[in-house]
């Protein structure tokens, strides 16, 4: 059952069209629901284009979620592409005790992000498991594994199960990438 200590946890994903940010938010919500929690997930509604910045949102709570407004003050920000930090203010509105997780091979300091930012090279992890190509790796499941470690609310086995149910291809590889990330991130 629920391990949500706060009333509600709000997560914002930043990615590019095609990287799977929307699917990641949906997998997270599905896994939370599977565990008996309440959750909602929605994309930044609109006309998606491959490569263009997209965001997706997820709420998790032990109680029914009534709000249907967007998320303005997330507890967590998950960034699938480090290039986005030059294009959008990815940390906008993040709670003062919030946590950002970014897919990068650099350090938070090198990127000019707060020192408590969690960095994880999801691109290498994705390629290690054959997800996508060098030029367009599919990093959503790897970064989701990293997120699951940092935000210990939704059990990893449920996330893995939902990954296998939800991704359109390479189910086992996607699950393996998430599991790898979960094991690597501190």
């Amino acid at each position: 059952m629920s391990q949500v200590s706060k009333d509600i946890i709000e997560i914002r994903f930043h990615g590019r069209g095609g990287q799977g940010a929307v699917i990641a938010s949906e997998i997270l919500a599905k896994a939370a629901i599977k565990e008996g929690m309440y959750a909602s997930a929605f994309p930044s509604f609109g006309v998606e284009r491959r490569g263009a910045p997209v965001s997706a949102f997820c709420r998790i709570s032990s109680k029914p979620i009534w709000t249907h407004a967007s998320i303005y003050e997330p507890d967590y920000v998950v960034i699938l592409d480090q290039g986005l930090i030059r294009l959008t203010n990815v940390l906008q509105g993040m709670k003062s005790d919030g946590t950002a997780i970014i897919n990068t091979s650099k350090s938070a300091e090198e990127l000019g992000l707060p020192e408590n930012t969690i960095t994880f090279d999801a691109t290498s992890a994705a390629l290690k498991f054959g997800l996508g190509s060098q030029t367009s790796p599919i990093v959503n499941t790897a970064i989701l594994g990293a997120f699951a470690k940092v935000c210990d609310v939704v059990p990893m086995n449920s996330i893995l199960e939902c990954i296998k149910q939800s991704v359109p291809a390479k189910r086992e590889e996607n699950a393996a990438a998430a599991e790898f990330a979960y094991g690597v991130v501190a």
Binding site: A29, M37, I65
Partner: protein
């Protein structure tokens, strides 16, 4: 079964559980995935329906009027321009007394182009004679479609029903819902069995010319059926609660209104946000409540009159605008309540999010008993900081 479901998936599941016989659709954002889910279920044999992909929404509605006339349970879905294109046949479906059930993933209508959600499309069809339900969440979308069949197909009602879900905000948002078992739904929703239907063995004439000698009586009978539907809906919801354990307080759900100094009347998903905002404001000592219009047609005049006369100040939030004097729901509320002392708030048009901060301003404005129309999220408007 507990599942993670978008509003559109919930609507398609309702069509399956209701065992719709004929589905005729034309795709349009944000409804399209309802049609796709149904098509997929028909193709996989999970749903035993005749699936017709039409050349327009006007044709989809026309096809269903024909199918309903031979006694089939019918289903379609649309949005925005698609609904507008159906307008002629929406009127016809009412006059033909065909109990078609149709979710509408509500969206703005152009021009210029806008694919996002508001209530303008559904609200603009308020005079067609369709029963109209506005849902707050995805569970309610599924449940209301099942209830809508019960009411629409009642032999004393025989009217089509529109189940409105906010485009994107519900249609494309994943939420936790409970998808009922087929056996439970079968127990709740009997097979459609109309008193009159087109039958080659028993020829009858449908849709012929009605002269001035009888036209008024035809229209009167429709109005009468609207009145009858009020009690039928309450009964359908009571039975629904018995079978499924859920109910929605039709026709108007009230939340913390009993001792409220100010009540916001709204419809659709935004009412959920407003309820959470009301909780926050209550913690600050502000006695506010929310009344959610779940049934817009027939309009719950009696319930609204009672509510408005029992609270010091009331405002209405419309996610559409009627060119005239304030929002459409505001005008209905004002006319039902018989008072001019009601505020009108316009917000959330064309996909603009309605965040708590806008709702807080609206509640405060209602507490201050301000009147007239406020475009609550207009850039450079009265509430802009």
């Amino acid at each position: 079964m507990i599942e993670a479901s978008t509003g559109n998936y919930a609507a398609a599941q309702a069509a399956r559980l209701a065992k719709a016989d004929v589905v005729a659709v034309y795709p349009i954002t944000p409804q399209t995935t309802i049609s796709e889910y149904v098509a997929s279920m028909v193709q996989k044999g999970e749903m035993n329906a005749e699936f017709l992909l039409m050349e327009s929404e006007h044709s989809a509605m026309s096809a269903l009027i024909g199918a309903s006339t031979i006694g089939a349970r019918t289903f379609t879905a649309t949005s925005s321009h698609g609904l507008a294109l159906m307008h002629e046949m929406l009127m016809w479906a009412v006059g033909a007394r065909t109990p078609i059930v149709m979710p509408v993933a509500a969206r703005a209508i152009g021009g210029p182009w806008n694919i996002w959600g508001d209530h303008q499309d559904a609200i603009s069809e308020r005079d067609t004679g369709w029963l109209q339900f506005f849902c707050e969440n995805n569970q309610e979308v599924l449940d209301t479609i099942l209830m809508a069949y019960r009411v629409a197909e009642d032999r004393n009602v025989m009217l089509p029903a529109m189940v409105v879900e906010d485009g994107f905000v519900l249609s494309h948002t994943v939420e936790r819902i409970d998808i009922p078992d087929q056996e439970e739904v079968d127990a709740y929703l009997p097979k459609y069995s109309p008193e009159f239907f087109a039958d080659t063995e028993n020829p009858m004439r449908f849709g012929g010319l009605v002269t001035p000698d009888l036209w008024t009586e035809f229209r009167y009978r429709i109005a009468e059926s609207h009145e009858i539907s009020r009690e039928k809906l309450k009964a359908a919801e009571k039975d629904f609660e018995k079978v499924f354990g859920r109910s929605y307080g039709s026709p108007v759900e009230t939340y913390r209104c009993e001792d409220a100094d100010a009540v916001l009347i709204a419809a659709g998903a935004v009412a959920g946000t407003a309820k959470e905002v009301a909780d926050q404001l209550r913690m600050q000592g502000k006695k506010v409540g929310v009344a959610r219009i779940r049934v817009f047609r027939p309009f719950p005049s009696e319930e609204i009159r009672k509510l408005v006369s029992s609270v010091p100040s009331v405002g209405v939030l419309d996610k559409s605008y009627t060119f005239g004097d304030g929002g459409a729901m505001f005008n209905e509320v004002r006319s039902a309540a018989g008072t001019l002392e009601i505020g009108s708030y316009i917000a959330g048009l064309g996909g603009r999010d309605v965040p708590p901060k806008v709702l807080i301003k609206i509640f405060n404005n209602i507490l201050e008993k301000n009147r007239g129309t406020v475009w609550a999220d207009l850039k450079g408007g009265d509430f802009d900081d």
